[in-house]
Point group: C2
Chain length 212, copies 2
């Protein structure tokens, strides 16, 4: 029997949060960041991170009950749109997580889709991920960048905390690939190339340095 | 703009639970049941309900933080396998929730699937729901009973409480249709008709009367 797929619960907290001062007993992999900037792309701001502030990520195998001061959080889930060929191709070509360092950038983008999206049946949503005449679609766009940009999708829509975002998307790359990353964002947001984005009603970017 | 799809959080509690004595302030639709029997079908028992005990369902528009004494709980989510034609057909033909009464039965079946299921890509899981030569599949089996048996699927796999079940499936029917319901269960569990069931590692039935 193969190992079960990993299930992770991920929490981003301001490093100065009172919660973290007392969190030594929490079993988690800790990653440290410095905030460079934040940009409201669509809709409202769902979290506040000031340039220069320190941020900590707790990467856990189990959820942490009653954690306070959380800025953004989500959990990994089973694949909802990738088919077996796409899953295997992405596993073969995708960049791994980058080491912390002066040239390692991380970007966190919480996203909320509108009610019309969630009313769609599965085949209607899936069609947006694959190519069709006149549009490239989310999966094909993403595959072109997978070798240079580490990606992780966290789900939040069904969290009991009911946050104002459905997903926390997380990226890492070498700063030399910053223009590739902004090109990826531009293509995903191009509603001709990727009509899925018509359903995005809130999107906010947090640009970080991964320092430890 | 159409209304968003309903999102409901559902909690089943022993009616004698201390929590319920103090729950008057919880905004929920309350439904009352009497337990008739429980059956461990596969795997371990995940909840205990004694014959004759009273059970209460809290049906909520928002999650309830810190609710204790919960026997089973889950939330409604977006469609993960139904295509638009199946969704529309089921909406047209499906039985509505039944009124409480002496002839109204309810059955709750928590289910957990194994790690191999959750490792599958989406197209691999979807294939189990649709017919193919030699097998009918989950969706087609279910459609034949949808007019007589009210069904609701609740998800629990990603709850922060990390319960030992992935789904809480809930059914209601008139006791005159009991044999139809047991036929439905038999067909879903027939691994030739429905090979999906090879991945089910825990399944327990709770048979109830819906009394109020």
């Amino acid at each position: 029997m193969l190992a079960p797929p990993p299930r992770n619960w991920v929490y981003f907290l301001n490093s100065a949060a009172e919660e973290l001062r007392h969190s030594a007993q929490i079993s988690a992999r800790r990653t440290h960041y410095v905030v460079e900037s934040s940009v409201v792309v669509r809709g409202e701001s769902v979290a506040s991170m000031v340039a220069g502030a320190e941020l900590t990520r707790l990467f856990c195998d189990s959820p942490i009950a009653g954690l306070n001061d959380v800025l953004l959080a989500g959990s990994s889930q089973h694949l909802q749109y990738a088919n077996a060929a796409q899953r295997d191709h992405l596993a073969a070509v995708s960049a791994k997580e980058f080491s912390a360092g002066a040239t390692t950038r991380a970007v966190i983008i919480p996203i909320r889709k509108n009610a019309a999206w969630w009313r769609l049946a599965h085949d209607e949503r899936l069609a947006f991920f694959n190519p069709s005449p006149g549009k490239e679609g989310h999966t094909t766009i993403g595959e072109r960048y997978a070798g240079r940009i580490f990606r992780q999708l966290l789900h939040a829509r069904y969290d009991a905390a009911k946050p104002p975002y459905d997903f926390v998307t997380y990226f890492e790359f070498n700063e030399a690939d910053t223009s590739a990353f902004t090109a990826l964002l531009g293509e995903l947001r191009d509603e001709t190339l990727n009509p899925e984005w018509r359903y995005v009603e809130m999107e906010q970017e947090f640009w970080l340095r991964k320092v430890g």
